[in-house]
Symmetry: C2
Subunit: 368 residues, 2 copies
């Protein structure tokens, strides 16, 4: 790249920064979601993301991450064959999915680790959040995330689930635990709550701080048809409800030390997982006593015919529809239901909202 081009590029970047009223700080560091040893993508202390991708003979490289509605971030080719670029503005705190468009094809960033979302393994990047300590890997006792393969006659296969067992589970062979069944969103799978959400670390940290009593979390794939995720409006809950209620729960109750009754069983989910939670809790009022919808809609008082429900938890990001959450919470309160809600400040329909929602919800579970 000539000096002229560098000067021009710097000027253009500066222009962008001034337009947004902010100078980009040159304190970029590799994202914590990078593959081992990979320097890019990077993030800075303001939340800008910077990309660097090799494709010497390509005509166009674009990253899907960027400011809403602007088509992501177009990278610029350097003479070394690497394409580089920085988001036009700061990104929201937390985890984001993205991918790379190279000459019209969709690929992943070779520097980033992959996370299942949007019905594909996507690249992931982490914008450091002011409150990232609550899901950090710390020097505390750690629970396990156990992969199980449980028999599912209704789908004629062995299905996968992950079970979080808290620290001490193995050493207290007579202790029994409540269980939270926790569902992912559309296009994700049973790996999302651990990989993107760090649900295990959130639990480890809350337990280490004495803020919750230990319990199990079970995470499985929320669609029985592996391929066709579409058609949420005509969605049939029956196949997944059968897997969850008739197959997975009995398997977990038989193979883990659970308190196997409705008073010690919760169901929660994010986005589509919230929709599933609502359908299944209403269809099967005798199975769960704690309900959680995380960016996943609301209950109206007339929906709920379980008079002894112990908690309804509703949440979303402040960039979603917090008014709807607040209004539904008021109505449920007025109708006499035990309800709690939470709005994640400054976040949208993304995992930082759900990490925070989980942290807010779990201390309220299994307390009655």
């Amino acid at each position: 790249m000539t000096h002229y081009k560098i000067a021009l590029l710097s000027f253009l970047c500066l222009g962008t920064s001034i337009a947004l009223g902010q100078t980009i700080k040159e304190d970029f560091k590799p994202s914590t979601k990078n593959q081992p040893g990979k320097e890019y993508p990077q993030v800075n202390s303001q939340g800008y993301a910077r990309f660097r991708i090799e494709a010497p003979a390509a005509d166009s490289v674009r990253v899907s991450l960027g400011l809403g509605g602007r088509g992501g971030t177009l990278l610029e080719k350097g003479e070394d064959g690497f394409w580089t670029g920085t988001t036009e503005g700061p990104m929201d705190e937390g985890f984001h999915y993205y991918h790379v468009n190279v000459d019209g094809g969709t690929f992943n960033d070779p520097g980033a680790k992959n996370y299942y979302g949007s019905v594909r393994w996507e690249s992931g990047i982490e914008i450091p959040a002011y409150d990232q300590d609550f899901y950090a890997l710390k020097d505390v006792s750690h629970g396990k995330v156990e992969q199980i393969l449980f028999p599912s006659p209704s789908t004629n296969t062995s299905r996968r689930a992950f079970v979080y067992t808290p620290p001490g589970y193995a050493k207290n062979p007579n202790k029994k635990y409540p269980v939270l069944y926790l569902q992912h969103g559309w296009g994700e799978n049973e790996t999302a709550w651990s990989n993107q959400g760090h649900a295990n670390l959130i639990m480890d940290n809350l337990i280490a701080e004495g803020k919750i009593e230990p319990f199990l979390i079970v995470m499985t794939y929320g669609m029985t048809n592996e391929i066709k995720f579409g058609g949420l409006r005509s969605f049939d809950i029956t196949p997944f409800q059968t897997v969850l209620v008739d197959e997975l729960i009995p398997y977990v109750d038989e193979n883990f030390r659970t308190i196997a009754d409705e008073d010690h069983r919760a169901l929660a989910g994010l986005s589509m997982g919230g929709m599933e939670t609502k359908m299944i809790t209403l269809n099967k009022p005798d199975v769960f006593s704690y309900y959680g919808l995380l960016s996943g809609g609301t209950y109206a008082p007339e929906d709920v015919d379980k008079e002894d429900v112990k908690l309804i938890f509703l949440s979303c990001g402040s960039k979603e529809r917090p008014k709807a959450i607040k209004a539904a919470t008021e109505k449920l309160k007025e109708a006499g239901y035990p309800v709690a809600s939470y709005i994640s400040e400054g976040t949208a329909h993304e995992f930082q909202t759900w990490r925070r929602s989980l942290k807010e919800m779990v201390p309220k579970l299994f307390t009655k």
Copy 2:
């Protein structure tokens, strides 16, 4: 594409097939390692692999998989913007890593799932093997693969390992089990033996058939420096040996129901993991009694100063250096050591060799 071009392409393909003395059968099916719902890559019953990747504006798309020394498979662009191509000949049975070169940049195939190898998350493809039944997901009782995070003072972090616990582990709270510590190869990590190797399914199936008594398998990351894998000749085993022997083993013995003595502890590894196995078993003769090198070198009789070693297992693929394995086996036998060896027919330095080696080795462990 015009009819002329299709005809030309067919002729060229036919030409290739005739050159190799084989007509390509058009019975291609999606690889079992594809992402959900993805039609490509595909494999046929002869072991050919076919790729189809969208990149309408690219000038060149090449897949790294192909016949040795020929630079992989160059794809051809269709008028629909998809690049397609078939390997020049059949690939070896089993699992292969690969990646895609798009206009000079290295990416993954958006149709395939990703597997950590070559110090990056690579695309993976599965060529059906005649003996694939032994690592198939069947309707048998399944063990768990448990992710643990164990404290590692020597590396100042919590490190990850996966522990296979067999069917029945949770239901027999007084039973204690032997343990196999099982290491991955260079550029891989602690996910390899489960994801690529299907070690858990191999164990489940052998246990279901009554061919082995259940035991635990522990798999952790075999390098303490996350980035610098290079320099195998000047390799210092001490940091990993400390993690394994002084940190992981005590943690496993405290947190799982193990028979915590050398007679019930094995160490084995593939490739670089075999090199590590050899170094650690010789450095620490009182820790392990069963040794396994899978495409990972050999022991000479004069190496081994543990007179009561219970088994030395050596293996490799027939396309590697089987003569060296056979010669070393003879020498160890002559010197009076208990030794077993295995050669995987028709496979090279790849996971099919190691799946088969594991299946051959585990019935010989913990039998004395």
